[in-house]
Protein backbone atom coordinates (compact mmCIF):
# COMPACT_ATOMS: atom_id res chain seq x y z
CA UNK A 1 0.00 0.00 0.00
CA UNK A 2 2.79 2.36 1.00
CA UNK A 3 4.69 1.49 -2.15
CA UNK A 4 1.59 2.25 -4.23
CA UNK A 5 1.24 5.63 -2.55
CA UNK A 6 4.91 6.32 -3.21
CA UNK A 7 4.46 5.44 -6.84
CA UNK A 8 1.39 7.61 -7.00
CA UNK A 9 3.34 10.51 -5.52
CA UNK A 10 6.13 9.92 -7.97
CA UNK A 11 3.78 9.84 -10.94
CA UNK A 12 2.17 13.09 -9.91
CA UNK A 13 5.52 14.74 -10.54
CA UNK A 14 5.21 13.73 -14.17
CA UNK A 15 2.46 16.19 -14.96
CA UNK A 16 3.45 18.20 -17.99
CA UNK A 17 2.62 21.83 -18.53
CA UNK A 18 1.67 23.20 -21.91
CA UNK A 19 4.97 24.73 -23.01
CA UNK A 20 3.41 27.13 -25.51
CA UNK A 21 2.41 30.31 -23.69
CA UNK A 22 0.22 31.60 -26.53
CA UNK A 23 -1.81 28.38 -26.68
CA UNK A 24 -4.97 29.86 -25.13
CA UNK A 25 -5.01 32.91 -27.38
CA UNK A 26 -4.25 30.86 -30.49
CA UNK A 27 -7.02 28.40 -29.73
CA UNK A 28 -9.56 31.17 -29.07
CA UNK A 29 -8.51 32.88 -32.31
CA UNK A 30 -8.99 29.61 -34.20
CA UNK A 31 -12.42 29.09 -32.66
CA UNK A 32 -13.46 32.64 -33.67
CA UNK A 33 -12.09 32.12 -37.20
CA UNK A 34 -13.95 28.82 -37.58
CA UNK A 35 -17.19 30.40 -36.39
CA UNK A 36 -16.73 33.22 -38.92
CA UNK A 37 -16.04 30.68 -41.67
CA UNK A 38 -19.10 28.65 -40.69
CA UNK A 39 -21.20 31.82 -40.77
CA UNK A 40 -19.94 32.64 -44.26
CA UNK A 41 -20.74 29.10 -45.50
CA UNK A 42 -24.27 29.44 -44.10
CA UNK A 43 -24.68 32.82 -45.83
CA UNK A 44 -23.32 31.44 -49.11
CA UNK A 45 -25.67 28.51 -48.89
CA UNK A 46 -28.67 30.77 -48.29
CA UNK A 47 -27.78 33.10 -51.19
CA UNK A 48 -27.03 30.17 -53.52
CA UNK A 49 -30.32 28.53 -52.64
CA UNK A 50 -32.32 31.71 -53.22
CA UNK A 51 -30.68 32.24 -56.63
CA UNK A 52 -31.18 28.59 -57.50
CA UNK A 53 -34.92 28.80 -56.77
CA UNK A 54 -35.19 32.12 -58.64
CA UNK A 55 -33.23 30.75 -61.60
CA UNK A 56 -35.34 27.62 -61.73
CA UNK A 57 -38.55 29.70 -61.60
CA UNK A 58 -37.36 32.02 -64.39
CA UNK A 59 -36.26 28.98 -66.38
CA UNK A 60 -39.69 27.42 -66.07
CA UNK A 61 -41.37 30.68 -67.04
CA UNK A 62 -39.01 31.01 -70.04
CA UNK A 63 -39.75 27.44 -70.97
CA UNK A 64 -43.50 27.98 -70.97
CA UNK A 65 -43.16 31.25 -72.94
CA UNK A 66 -40.97 29.55 -75.54
CA UNK A 67 -43.28 26.54 -75.83
CA UNK A 68 -46.15 28.92 -76.69
CA UNK A 69 -44.09 31.00 -79.16
CA UNK A 70 -44.89 30.58 -82.84
CA UNK A 71 -42.59 33.22 -84.35
CA UNK A 72 -39.00 32.69 -85.51
CA UNK A 73 -36.38 33.96 -83.03
CA UNK A 74 -33.10 35.19 -84.56
CA UNK A 75 -33.99 33.21 -87.66
CA UNK A 76 -34.42 29.96 -85.70
CA UNK A 77 -37.63 28.02 -85.43
CA UNK A 78 -39.33 28.18 -81.99
CA UNK A 79 -38.93 24.38 -81.58
CA UNK A 80 -35.13 24.56 -82.02
CA UNK A 81 -34.88 27.49 -79.61
CA UNK A 82 -37.01 25.59 -77.09
CA UNK A 83 -34.82 22.46 -77.30
CA UNK A 84 -31.60 24.49 -76.91
CA UNK A 85 -33.15 26.42 -74.01
CA UNK A 86 -34.34 23.23 -72.31
CA UNK A 87 -30.91 21.61 -72.70
CA UNK A 88 -29.16 24.61 -71.16
CA UNK A 89 -31.79 24.78 -68.44
CA UNK A 90 -31.44 21.12 -67.45
CA UNK A 91 -27.63 21.34 -67.54
CA UNK A 92 -27.70 24.47 -65.35
CA UNK A 93 -30.15 22.92 -62.87
CA UNK A 94 -28.11 19.71 -62.57
CA UNK A 95 -24.75 21.45 -62.07
CA UNK A 96 -26.17 24.02 -59.66
CA UNK A 97 -27.98 21.31 -57.69
CA UNK A 98 -24.67 19.52 -57.30
CA UNK A 99 -22.97 22.71 -56.12
CA UNK A 100 -25.72 23.39 -53.62
CA UNK A 101 -25.57 19.80 -52.39
CA UNK A 102 -21.79 20.13 -51.87
CA UNK A 103 -22.28 23.36 -49.97
CA UNK A 104 -24.96 21.67 -47.88
CA UNK A 105 -22.61 18.78 -47.02
CA UNK A 106 -19.91 21.30 -46.09
CA UNK A 107 -22.39 23.13 -43.89
CA UNK A 108 -23.42 19.87 -42.20
CA UNK A 109 -19.84 18.79 -41.57
CA UNK A 110 -19.04 22.17 -39.99
CA UNK A 111 -22.06 22.01 -37.70
Amino acid sequence: MESKDKFSGLMRKGKLEMPFTDFEDNTMRRIQAELKYKGSIRRNFRVSFIFFVLGTAFGLIGNSILSNADEFIFGLSPKTVLIVFQLIFVLAVVTQSENIYRLFIKLKSQA
Binding site: M18, P19, F20, T27
Partner: protein, 181 residues
Protein backbone atom coordinates in the same frame (compact mmCIF):
# COMPACT_ATOMS: atom_id res chain seq x y z
CA UNK B 1 -17.97 24.77 -11.88
CA UNK B 2 -17.71 23.11 -15.31
CA UNK B 3 -21.50 23.10 -15.62
CA UNK B 4 -21.73 26.86 -15.13
CA UNK B 5 -19.23 27.49 -17.91
CA UNK B 6 -20.85 24.90 -20.19
CA UNK B 7 -24.11 26.83 -19.88
CA UNK B 8 -22.32 30.14 -20.46
CA UNK B 9 -20.75 28.84 -23.68
CA UNK B 10 -24.04 27.32 -24.77
CA UNK B 11 -25.81 30.63 -24.28
CA UNK B 12 -23.34 32.32 -26.64
CA UNK B 13 -20.54 33.56 -24.37
CA UNK B 14 -17.57 32.31 -26.41
CA UNK B 15 -14.99 33.84 -24.11
CA UNK B 16 -16.27 31.59 -21.32
CA UNK B 17 -14.58 28.73 -23.14
CA UNK B 18 -11.24 30.11 -21.92
CA UNK B 19 -12.07 28.57 -18.56
CA UNK B 20 -11.84 25.08 -20.10
CA UNK B 21 -8.60 25.98 -21.87
CA UNK B 22 -7.05 27.17 -18.62
CA UNK B 23 -8.36 24.26 -16.62
CA UNK B 24 -7.65 21.33 -18.93
CA UNK B 25 -4.82 22.32 -21.27
CA UNK B 26 -2.02 20.89 -19.13
CA UNK B 27 -3.64 17.53 -18.49
CA UNK B 28 -4.78 17.29 -22.12
CA UNK B 29 -1.18 17.99 -23.14
CA UNK B 30 0.08 15.28 -20.77
CA UNK B 31 -2.45 12.80 -22.17
CA UNK B 32 -1.55 13.70 -25.75
CA UNK B 33 2.18 13.42 -25.02
CA UNK B 34 1.64 9.92 -23.65
CA UNK B 35 0.44 8.80 -27.05
CA UNK B 36 2.30 10.91 -29.62
CA UNK B 37 5.53 11.62 -27.69
CA UNK B 38 6.14 14.86 -29.56
CA UNK B 39 5.49 18.33 -28.10
CA UNK B 40 4.48 20.02 -31.34
CA UNK B 41 2.12 17.29 -32.50
CA UNK B 42 0.68 17.10 -28.98
CA UNK B 43 0.05 20.85 -28.93
CA UNK B 44 -1.63 20.69 -32.34
CA UNK B 45 -3.89 17.83 -31.45
CA UNK B 46 -4.85 19.36 -28.11
CA UNK B 47 -5.88 22.49 -30.00
CA UNK B 48 -7.92 20.39 -32.44
CA UNK B 49 -9.55 18.64 -29.49
CA UNK B 50 -10.51 21.94 -27.87
CA UNK B 51 -12.03 23.18 -31.14
CA UNK B 52 -13.95 19.90 -31.49
CA UNK B 53 -15.13 20.14 -27.89
CA UNK B 54 -16.28 23.72 -28.46
CA UNK B 55 -18.28 22.67 -31.53
CA UNK B 56 -19.74 19.62 -29.81
CA UNK B 57 -20.54 21.37 -26.54
CA UNK B 58 -24.20 22.02 -27.48
CA UNK B 59 -24.69 18.26 -27.89
CA UNK B 60 -22.83 17.30 -24.68
CA UNK B 61 -25.44 15.43 -22.64
CA UNK B 62 -23.63 15.49 -19.28
CA UNK B 63 -23.85 11.72 -18.94
CA UNK B 64 -20.23 11.81 -17.82
CA UNK B 65 -17.96 14.46 -16.33
CA UNK B 66 -16.78 17.13 -18.78
CA UNK B 67 -13.18 16.03 -18.18
CA UNK B 68 -13.97 12.39 -19.06
CA UNK B 69 -15.79 13.47 -22.21
CA UNK B 70 -13.01 15.87 -23.20
CA UNK B 71 -10.12 13.47 -22.53
CA UNK B 72 -11.92 10.93 -24.67
CA UNK B 73 -11.82 13.44 -27.53
CA UNK B 74 -8.11 14.02 -26.87
CA UNK B 75 -7.33 10.29 -26.80
CA UNK B 76 -9.27 9.67 -30.03
CA UNK B 77 -7.53 12.58 -31.73
CA UNK B 78 -4.15 11.32 -30.56
CA UNK B 79 -4.78 7.78 -31.79
CA UNK B 80 -6.04 9.07 -35.15
CA UNK B 81 -2.96 11.29 -35.46
CA UNK B 82 -0.62 8.40 -34.71
CA UNK B 83 -2.35 6.29 -37.36
CA UNK B 84 -2.23 9.14 -39.86
CA UNK B 85 1.44 9.81 -39.34
CA UNK B 86 2.09 6.07 -39.40
CA UNK B 87 4.78 6.80 -36.92
CA UNK B 88 6.34 3.97 -35.17
CA UNK B 89 6.36 5.04 -31.63
CA UNK B 90 9.04 3.18 -29.87
CA UNK B 91 7.56 0.95 -27.29
CA UNK B 92 9.61 -0.31 -24.48
CA UNK B 93 9.97 -4.04 -24.15
CA UNK B 94 10.79 -5.07 -20.67
CA UNK B 95 13.44 -7.61 -20.06
CA UNK B 96 12.53 -9.18 -16.82
CA UNK B 97 16.05 -9.75 -15.68
CA UNK B 98 16.67 -6.02 -15.87
CA UNK B 99 17.27 -4.33 -12.58
CA UNK B 100 14.40 -2.29 -11.20
CA UNK B 101 14.97 1.28 -10.10
CA UNK B 102 15.79 1.71 -6.47
CA UNK B 103 13.05 3.90 -5.08
CA UNK B 104 15.24 5.27 -2.31
CA UNK B 105 17.82 6.51 -4.83
CA UNK B 106 15.03 8.03 -6.89
CA UNK B 107 13.68 9.81 -3.84
CA UNK B 108 17.08 11.19 -2.99
CA UNK B 109 17.25 13.04 -6.30
CA UNK B 110 16.29 16.71 -6.58
CA UNK B 111 12.71 17.52 -7.54
CA UNK B 112 13.69 18.77 -11.02
CA UNK B 113 15.73 15.66 -11.67
CA UNK B 114 12.85 13.46 -10.59
CA UNK B 115 10.42 15.31 -12.87
CA UNK B 116 12.86 14.99 -15.77
CA UNK B 117 13.42 11.28 -15.15
CA UNK B 118 9.72 10.47 -14.81
CA UNK B 119 8.82 12.29 -18.00
CA UNK B 120 11.68 10.68 -19.90
CA UNK B 121 10.59 7.28 -18.62
CA UNK B 122 6.96 7.94 -19.63
CA UNK B 123 8.20 8.87 -23.11
CA UNK B 124 9.93 5.52 -23.40
CA UNK B 125 6.93 3.49 -22.35
CA UNK B 126 4.38 2.40 -24.94
CA UNK B 127 1.58 4.88 -25.64
CA UNK B 128 -1.04 2.73 -23.95
CA UNK B 129 0.97 2.10 -20.79
CA UNK B 130 1.96 5.70 -20.45
CA UNK B 131 -1.62 6.82 -21.08
CA UNK B 132 -3.00 4.40 -18.49
CA UNK B 133 -0.47 5.54 -15.87
CA UNK B 134 -1.04 9.22 -16.54
CA UNK B 135 -4.81 8.97 -16.40
CA UNK B 136 -4.88 6.74 -13.35
CA UNK B 137 -2.23 8.38 -11.21
CA UNK B 138 -1.97 11.92 -12.50
CA UNK B 139 -5.59 12.65 -13.15
CA UNK B 140 -6.64 10.26 -10.38
CA UNK B 141 -9.36 8.83 -12.56
CA UNK B 142 -10.93 5.59 -11.43
CA UNK B 143 -10.42 2.44 -13.49
CA UNK B 144 -13.99 2.87 -14.72
CA UNK B 145 -13.26 6.38 -15.94
CA UNK B 146 -10.00 5.31 -17.57
CA UNK B 147 -12.04 2.67 -19.44
CA UNK B 148 -14.60 5.30 -20.44
CA UNK B 149 -11.92 7.65 -21.74
CA UNK B 150 -9.88 5.07 -23.61
CA UNK B 151 -12.51 2.53 -24.60
CA UNK B 152 -10.46 -0.30 -23.06
CA UNK B 153 -12.01 -3.07 -21.00
CA UNK B 154 -11.48 -3.11 -17.24
CA UNK B 155 -9.20 -6.13 -17.38
CA UNK B 156 -6.95 -4.68 -20.10
CA UNK B 157 -6.72 -1.43 -18.16
CA UNK B 158 -5.61 -3.32 -15.06
CA UNK B 159 -3.05 -5.29 -17.08
CA UNK B 160 -1.75 -2.09 -18.68
CA UNK B 161 -1.44 -0.42 -15.29
CA UNK B 162 0.39 -3.39 -13.84
CA UNK B 163 2.73 -3.68 -16.80
CA UNK B 164 3.16 0.09 -16.94
CA UNK B 165 4.18 0.27 -13.27
CA UNK B 166 6.71 -2.51 -13.69
CA UNK B 167 8.14 -1.12 -16.93
CA UNK B 168 8.27 2.34 -15.42
CA UNK B 169 10.64 1.12 -12.70
CA UNK B 170 12.76 -0.73 -15.25
CA UNK B 171 13.07 2.33 -17.49
CA UNK B 172 13.75 4.55 -14.50
CA UNK B 173 16.50 2.17 -13.44
CA UNK B 174 18.10 2.32 -16.87
CA UNK B 175 17.78 6.07 -17.09
CA UNK B 176 19.35 6.56 -13.67
CA UNK B 177 22.24 4.37 -14.72
CA UNK B 178 22.89 6.34 -17.90
CA UNK B 179 22.20 9.80 -16.54
CA UNK B 180 23.55 9.75 -13.02
CA UNK B 181 26.34 7.19 -12.89
Amino acid sequence: MDDIYIEKVRSGDREAFRYFLREYKDMAFSVAMSVVKDEFIAQELVQDSFVKAFNALPSFKKQSKFSTWFYRIVVNEALTRVKKLKREILSFNAEYDTELADESILESLKHDEQVHLINEALKKLSGNESLALRLFYLQEESIKEVCEITGWSESSTKVLLHRGRKNMFIVLGELMKTEFY
